[in-house]
């Protein structure tokens, strides 16, 4: 029976992937849900605790601060990491020389292991012999405390994060810009549209879908920021850089409170999925 045989061979090819997904992707998704209603230290058998984990997380004084810091970070990181790559891509697309070099250079930090970028910038941020304060000093400007002050710590993290991540967004925009038919620009020009109006009425509408998609991807990525606060500030100074992901990590691996980490993770996931759903609706409306 050919149908049966075809299915058997197909599932033969699929079984390794199904096993990997079942154990290391689908099961953990379900486990996340279960975990958030349990108390466990991975040694004793887990007990059901209802909503205790959620109330523990919400009543933690760090909870509100973590969300605030995450939102601030996301907002700042988007203000740099979302707008700057698009502007850069538009300008790069206008250039007729050195394109390959500029593309190479802007993507180079993305290739580096994040730990390299983070440890390198930790040195640059050093208030003493660090590069940034030395450059400020060279221009007779007062040095900043960077990572050591609650007011500048978050901004410093945004700088690192933008430096090491903006390359991929820039190249994606650049590819999208190159797909805009040149007739549209010619038509706009004939209609008397200046440079600004050409950007406003041709470039942006033509790249709208990718702009929306990248916005969603970047929100989801930046709201999970972890390695920067983990390596650079340890959440300090004065808890100003404790992000939700960092708090979640602390719950699980500093306090061994896996249940509350699961509960916090559920909340983070709901927020991120809400963003994604909202974005999906926007793109749907865009098509109709």
């Amino acid at each position: 029976m050919p149908v049966l045989r075809r299915n058997l061979t197909a599932y033969g090819f699929l079984c390794a992937a199904l096993l990997c997904f079942a154990v290391f992707a689908w099961y953990p998704m379900a486990r996340e849900f279960i975990l958030s209603f349990q108390s466990t230290n991975l040694i004793d058998p887990p007990t059901w605790v209802g909503l205790d984990n959620f109330s523990y997380a919400v009543s933690d004084p760090a909870f509100a601060d973590a969300w605030l810091a995450t939102l601030q970070f996301t907002f700042l990181a988007l203000a740099c990491g979302y707008v700057v790559p698009f502007v850069v891509a538009v300008v790069l697309n206008e250039l007729r020389h050195a394109r390959a070099y500029l593309r190479f250079v802007v993507y180079l930090p993305v290739m580096l292991p994040p730990i390299v970028a983070v440890l390198l910038f930790r040195w640059f941020f050093d208030p003493g012999p660090g590069l940034f304060n030395q450059v400020l000093g060279f221009f007779q400007l007062p040095g900043l405390a960077w990572l050591d002050s609650p007011t500048t710590a978050l901004i410093s993290l945004v700088i690192v994060s933008t430096w090491m991540n903006m390359g991929s967004a820039t190249l994606i925009y650049l590819a999208a810009l190159q797909n805009i038919p040149s007739e549209l620009y010619e038509a706009a020009e004939l209609d008397g549209a200046g440079i600004w109006k050409r950007i406003r009425h041709v470039t942006i509408p033509q790249t709208r879908l990718i702009l929306l998609l990248m916005l969603m991807l970047q929100i989801v990525a930046t709201m999970q920021v972890f390695i920067e606060p983990y390596m650079l500030t340890g959440g300090g100074p004065e808890n100003s850089t404790v992000t939700v992901a960092y708090l979640l990590f602390q719950y699980a691996f500093t306090y061994q409170n896996y249940g509350s980490a699961g509960a916090l993770g559920m909340m983070l996931m709901i927020v991120l999925l809400a963003f994604a759903a909202f974005q999906l609706r926007l793109t749907r409306e865009d098509k109709t």
Binding site: F13, A16, A17, M29, R96, Y107, E189, L248
Partner: protein, 310 residues
């Protein structure tokens, strides 16, 4: 298949004769070639070009220069204020020091082993799954693909905890399989591969089948040779991602003789002098930079492959 999107365009600027060579445009963008080649257009263009080239070099390359030269300075020089632009007496001592202190040999070997092992396993699993979904069309294939893609929606930091708990339950801590299994469950790879396999002409496969090739033979002798471009892209991304990964190896590979490069650097960085840290960072970045130099085209094509059409 993997051109970055440069379109063959008309060269318009050529017709204009002005002082100097006109700026040639491969394709039309926001600013028309005519405007670009006007007197002010050219002045502004060159000013912008120089500004951008200089500032990009300063922003993106200078930090790396600072890292490399920092590792060549002595302990006193690196702490000196104001800093020196060139190392006064370039030495490679801090590289040697870094190599010993961080135990870079072990770390590099571990990372290479995990990356290539993970790559082999991931390709075997994902290619055969994509092949089954694309060509053998099993029952519930659509559902399975949907469920695989759904895992991409779940934020990585959220699954981290339950995944860790699962790995602990299975006793895979400090075992390379603790890295390899989760890496193989990659919905995006399967999606990319399946989409490419879908585009292979039916006739090719049917011809092979008429010649008596079974499914495995078709995969090996027909599908894989045709799919080289996408296999290249997926391979590079899989290897680079696992080389760069930090959080997951930090949790799974905790023994100091089993750590990856990134984790090892982060754990020891607090106890080592600044120039030795820089030496370690240079060693950690060299492999990825080499890969980038060699496979630049593939990487840039792969970057846009998933997003533009997706």
């Amino acid at each position: 298949m993997i051109s970055v999107g440069a379109r063959a365009g008309t060269r318009r600027g050529r017709a204009r004769r002005r002082r100097g060579r006109p700026i040639e445009s491969q394709f039309r963008t926001i600013i028309s070639p005519l405007q670009l080649n006007s007197r002010w257009g050219r002045r502004i263009y060159w000013a912008v070009l120089v500004t951008i080239v200089v500032s990009f070099t300063l922003i993106f390359l200078f930090p790396l220069y600072w890292m490399i030269t920092g590792a060549m300075k002595t302990g006193e020089e690196i702490a000196q204020m104001p800093p020196t632009l060139f190392p006064a007496e370039p030495t490679l001592d801090s590289y040697v020091e870094a190599w010993d202190l961080f135990d870079l040999g072990t770390l590099l070997w571990n990372t290479a082993y995990y990356s290539f092992g993970g790559w082999l396993f991931c390709m075997a699993v994902d290619v055969s799954a994509a092949y089954a979904l694309s060509r053998l069309r099993p029952m519930f294939g659509g559902v399975i693909l949907g469920a695989m893609l759904a895992t991409l929606m779940i934020p990585a930091m959220v699954v981290l905890i339950p995944l860790y708990v699962t790995v602990v339950d299975l006793g895979l801590l400090n075992n390379p399989w603790g890295l390899w299994f989760p890496a193989a469950a990659n919905g995006f790879n399967i999606f990319l591969l399946k989409r490419f396999f879908d585009s292979i002409p039916r006739e090719l496969i049917e011809a092979a089948q008429i010649d008596g090739a079974g499914p495995l033979r078709v995969l090996w002798s027909v599908v894989l040779p045709i799919s080289r471009p996408i296999l290249g892209v997926v391979s590079i991304f899989t290897i680079v991602t696992s080389f760069k990964d930090f959080v997951w190896p930090l949790l799974v590979m905790t023994d100091s003789d089993k750590m990856t490069l990134s984790v090892g650097l982060s754990q020891t960085a607090g106890m080592v002098s600044q120039n030795a840290i820089m030496g370690g960072l240079v060693v950690a970045s060299v492999p990825t930079i080499i890969v980038f130099f060699i496979f630049q085209r593939h990487i840039m094509a792969g970057l846009t492959a998933g997003s533009i059409k997706g």
